[in-house]
């Protein structure tokens, strides 16, 4: 056929050569495999910075003095026969439906949870009034990605760190909205009306990622958070208003924590300093987001870590906001 025939010798692969190639390939695979299995978990041990930025706004329960009182609670996950309604213990309208638990700060609530339904469920306690975020570490039993299977169950404990309303929920996305949630009222019921809610996770309705891993990284922010839990009128104002970390994301306005404290009372002639503790640049501009700047004072854009000061020489009520992030508002009362 072809005329470029092989005047030279034909070389063919030899067993030796094949063995050499196999040895090289197996050697690489062995070394790689050792690293692979040796470091299997290491590569998933970190959290992405974007995730820390989100989780940074989650309440960490502060250590509390245990009262020694234990409240055992048994809960069963159940579903209506048409799978439209989910609940704990009993369907809506029946006794013992999503029982409300009352406890005092420091009580140990022991949850004994069983999945008596046909679907997958998972358990957790949160302070948020919707969604599946903000699960308090340690209160959860399994998770949405590794749920409690039908017939299985588990136990967890929850020690409320402060007064307020907590919710025990099914953390599988969607199930809470279908009715799987009950209240835990801690302390005085009137606490409900006070602003004791934690900052909700805002943005997407996705469950907060890997909260269990987050605490070490965000514990630093706790001092500020304990400060803002005090009723507003008692806030000791030091002359510095902090622009809270993460204020560049909408959501801090729900709890008035874009500026901390957001509502202060000072005397004439005192100076207020705003410190930008967020990672983004902000402005402090007198006026309201709807009407714009009224010209009393304006910091213009100042960067993370910088401060801005203004001395108030006249009495009156001054509202101010951030021109870049119009949900950030605050008020200064000068007497």
């Amino acid at each position: 056929m072809s005329h470029i025939e092989h005047l030279d010798q034909i070389y063919r692969t030899s067993p030796r050569r094949v063995a050499k190639m196999m040895a090289i390939m197996l050697g690489i695979c062995l070394v790689g495999g050792t690293i692979f299995f040796g470091m299997w978990d290491y590569w998933i041990s970190g959290v992405s910075p974007a995730s820390i930025a989100r989780a940074g706004k989650v309440e960490i329960t502060s250590p509390v003095v245990a009262t020694g009182k234990e409240i055992p609670v048994s809960l069963n996950f159940i579903e209506s026969s048409d799978f439209r309604t989910f609940a704990f213990n009993a369907l809506p309208g029946e006794p013992d439906h999503n029982p409300t638990i009352t406890a005092a700060v420091g009580d140990k609530i022991i949850f004994n949870v069983k999945n008596a339904g046909k679907s997958f469920h998972a358990f957790g306690v949160t302070q948020e009034d919707e969604g599946t975020g903000g699960i308090i570490p340690g209160s959860n039993i399994q998770s949405a990605s590794n749920p409690i299977k039908p017939g299985q169950g588990g136990q967890s404990e929850f020690i409320p760190g402060k007064e307020g309303i907590y919710y025990y929920i099914c953390t599988v996305p969607g199930h809470r909205a279908q009715g799987m949630q009950g209240q835990i009222i801690v302390g005085d019921v009137s606490a409900k009306t006070e602003n004791t809610e934690t900052e909700p996770i805002t943005g997407s309705p996705m469950p907060a990622p890997e909260l269990k891993k987050a605490p070490e990284t965000i514990v630093k922010e706790k001092p500020e958070q304990t400060m803002k839990e005090e009723p507003k009128t008692n806030t000791p104002f030091t002359g510095t208003i902090s622009i809270s970390p993460g204020a560049s994301t909408p959501g801090c306005d729900k709890t008035n924590e874009c500026f901390i404290p957001s509502d202060v009372t000072i005397k004439v002639g005192e100076t207020v300093t705003w410190s930008n503790n967020d990672s983004a640049a902000h402005t402090v501009t007198s006026g309201t987001p709807t009407d714009g700047s009224n010209g009393t004072f304006d910091s213009s854009l100042f960067m993370a870590g910088k401060t801005f000061s203004h001395t108030f020489d006249n009495t009156g009520e001054y509202t101010y906001f951030c021109m870049v992030h119009p949900w950030m508002t605050g008020k200064i009362q000068v007497n």
Binding site: I10, I44, N146
Partner: protein, 509 residues
């Protein structure tokens, strides 16, 4: 002998050579290694899903990591490098040039694969081969996700370099006596797929960078909390990866164009229609990306446009199939192993295409969307068509690479077992999807129909495992001790029909 090393050299000389056959050999050996590694992961997935409940993968994280690396590995580390290997062997010979246009660039493109593979395999990320935000951006653990991103980044650069090399080799370095219209269809397939790579890959490269900075918390392109849009990632991703599907399938079709006329002992029915269909495919491949996203709330007009754009690929694909059939028609076909693989590949290509038309029809897409149907469809394409073509071509090249024959009987056994296995796994997965089983789940409720079909698929996967083991043993044993091939006519076809790659450039060596 044409393709083998001109004379025995130390292994390190082959490894660090810049000669196109040496690099082709490296590509093929490494891609086959990754095939077996990724295949092991596939078996793990099927065993875990064999019945409801935990088999041996206890948590969803491990399962997610396994299917992520399985997908990434098979596409980027098996199919693409295998095609590059074949192209490296044959394109210079087919255009009658002494080597690739840029031999060192060629070597660099190959040597980018091992570090990228190390990043992907060691990191073992968990967000699927789509890396879909917001999960991949916020929740996916570090540093696995970053390793995946960088691994794919490197592979993208490697693909672009390889594509440039093929394009320049074919357009600029072909023999002056050889008009472009007479360049064999295998080389044509590399020309068209390389052009697609050049246009498509940069989009995904940009999306990867955006994903990375989003993960670092610096930007919010895909972060809804910062005003970004995860759907934008889907658009960027599929703008690259729908054309990429054609990058994968076009070389496989080119390989079938090489095998079928040879074993039918008849020239190709229509060389020009093959060329035309390649060009048409590479153009319409860019008109269909959003059909992956019909369920993301697109307007009716958008959906209609992309439905029609996707259907535009049907005539081109059908031209190839018709060309194959017309070539075989009236030929004196010899059903050696490569021919069997090619024919099996065509049959499954046709079935996968029929399923593709169903996906394209957007009302039906809403039934099949995100179900096992999609898994079955996709695998029928990449395994049933592309891998079948590749296996066939590997058997076809085998004597030219090693100077020895593979074991014909076991090659046929491999084909039959694999064909049965592929049909059992991937056809069943289509039906499983219609029964509502979602994809990417590591466990499922014990519905009898789901259990049965998962078990059928599990048995099929085991058959594939057996077939691939036979393949591996056959390849290793035959390249060491196989009977010496008759290099004039290894398949006993009578030698009437020329082997274009044997018409070597007089300047070669």
């Amino acid at each position: 002998m044409v393709l083998e090393l001109q004379k025995p050299r130390p292994v390190w000389q082959i490894m660090f050579s810049t000669h196109h056959t040496d690099i082709g050999l490296l590509y093929i050996i490494s891609s086959l290694t990754f095939l077996f590694m990724g295949g092991a992961l596939a078996l793990a997935i099927r065993v875990e899903l064999f019945s409801p409940g935990t088999q041996f993968i206890a948590d969803s994280m491990t399962f997610n990591r396994i299917f992520t690396v399985h997908g990434t590995n098979m596409i980027f580390l098996f199919i693409l490098p295998f095609a590059s290997g074949v192209g490296n062997y044959f394109v210079p010979i087919m255009v009658r040039y002494k080597d690739m246009a840029y031999p060192k660039l060629n070597a660099i493109a190959f040597w980018m694969i091992p570090p990228a593979a190390a990043l992907i395999w060691l990191g073992f990320a968990d967000f699927g081969w789509y890396g879909q935000p917001p999960y991949s951006m916020i929740s996916s653990p570090s540093p696995a996700a970053e390793m995946w991103i960088f691994g794919l980044k490197i592979l993208g650069v490697s693909s672009v370099l390889g594509a440039i090399n093929f394009i320049v080799t074919i357009l600029k370095c072909k023999h002056p006596d050889l008009p472009l219209s007479k360049v064999p269809l295998l080389a044509w397939s590399f020309l068209s797929s390389s052009l697609i790579v050049l246009v498509a890959i940069p989009t995904f490269a940009a999306a990867l960078l955006m994903l990375l900075t989003d993960r670092l918390g610096v930007t919010g392109f895909f972060n809804p909390a910062l005003g970004g849009d995860p759907i934008a990632y889907s658009h960027l991703f599929w703008f690259t990866f729908h054309p990429e599907v054609y990058v994968l399938v076009i070389p496989a079709i080119g390989m079938m164009y090489e095998i079928i006329p040879r074993f039918s002992r008849k020239p190709i029915f229509s060389h020009s229609s093959g060329m035309f269909a390649f060009i048409l495919l590479s153009i319409v491949s860019f008109a269909s990306w959003a059909h992956h996203m019909f369920a993301t709330g697109m307007s009716f007009t958008e959906k209609t446009v992309f439905m029609v754009g996707t259907l535009a690929a049907v005539p081109a694909s059908a031209m190839h199939v018709f060309n194959f059939l017309a070539t075989m028609w009236g030929g004196r076909a010899k059903y050696s192993t490569p021919m069997m693989w090619a024919i099996g590949g065509i049959a499954l290509f046709f079935s996968a295409g029929a399923g593709g038309v169903v996906n394209t029809a957007m009302p039906l897409d809403f039934i099949t969307h995100d179900s096992y149907w999609v898994v079955g469809h996709f695998h029928l394409f990449v395994f049933g068509t592309i891998a079948f073509g590749s296996f066939g071509f590997l058997y076809y090249m085998f004597p030219y690479i090693t100077g020895r024959m593979y074991n014909e009987k076991w090659g046929k056994v491999h084909f039959i077992i694999t064909l049965i296995g592929a049909v059992l796994v991937f056809f069943t997965q289509h039906i499983l999807g219609l029964y509502g089983m979602p994809r990417r789940v590591f466990d499922y409720p014990p519905f009898p129909a789901w259990i049965e079909m998962n078990q059928i698929a599990g048995v099929g996967a085991m058959l594939l495992g057996v077939g691939m083991t036979i393949f591996l043993v056959n390849m290793i044993y035959s390249s060491a001790k196989g009977k010496e091939a008759n290099m004039e006519d290894p398949f006993g076809l009578g030698g009437k029909y020329y082997y274009p790659y044997q018409r070597k450039n007089p300047h070669h060596d």
